[in-house]
Symmetry: C2
Amino acid sequence: MGAFPAALEELIDQFASLPGIGYKSAQRLAFHILSLPDSEARAFADAVVRARDRIHCCRICQNLTDADACAICTNPRRDASVVCVVSDPRDVTAIEHTREYNGLYHVLHGVISPMNHIGPDDIRIRELVERVAQGGIQEVIMATNPDTEGETTAKYISRLLKPFEVKVTRLAYGIPVGGSLEFADDATLMRALEGRLEF
Amino acid sequence: MGAFPAALEELIDQFASLPGIGYKSAQRLAFHILSLPDSEARAFADAVVRARDRIHCCRICQNLTDADACAICTNPRRDASVVCVVSDPRDVTAIEHTREYNGLYHVLHGVISPMNHIGPDDIRIRELVERVAQGGIQEVIMATNPDTEGETTAKYISRLLKPFEVKVTRLAYGIPVGGSLEFADDATLMRALEGRLEF
């Protein structure tokens, strides 16, 4: 009998099933839960259920929201003629943080990845094409990550959007601001050279 | 509007309130919860509530249990004349894992630590003294961690137990000084048990 009581073992297992959490960390987290006042442990469990119940994808842009359409899509001051396509809701947060972008978004919830058996139908590409087909969108900015899968996804989508009267662009690649040439990898440097701009 | 919907923000905050989990990790965990099937998210929340509801301290040894008295205390094949005193339930698991020890335990749930305002009355020392006072215990093995607070606690308890006819020993220094019982390997723990010394 070296194990913990069943209910504790189960809680440890649940924590250990989360990404990036090993058994020792799961133990620590489970013991922390046991040490909490009852109300706080319940608030934690409630937050899990509530998030799962209330959060779903925006009818228009597929970003996470607790409303029918998200706060960005329903904001009349946003420019509805530009749509920025990202793979993850966190990318929306990152771009919003710059306060530079005033258009709308489209969240794919993934990228095409044959290695992981994720095809075009497994992410929200169809919803994007339908949005564009409805008209009113003049530019689609592809802002998937600058890796193989992100670029493949962007290229695939740009080809799908060819039949429509819409400009498809992508984020510029280059040296990160504040970065150093010395530490930039070859691919980034090549991209930065290719995309050089006139002063 | 760079933030996430309220229910998601709350879930992130709940994860971020756990020990050793920063905001980025909390984000990752919250998104993982949202990606789970509804039943799995609910199972996670239920595990939290159930552990909090069912797990409490054993009436006898103060170890965590879902019964009135734990499986070790109620096991008739265990030697009830020896009690091993540890600071944490995880230490019981570590010692049980060696399969070398057949006595009972007493879990203090902490150590005396003036720095952290934890005095003798804040841990389960009184319960241990009462157990010893009831008679039937011939040896108390102090197995607190071999650091300053652990040793102070062990010495304090051994002094409290002086009036009773009980042998008080401590684990031998097979355990690396400054280390933690929880992370000791089986061989080290076995040596420490075999070579235990009288106070």
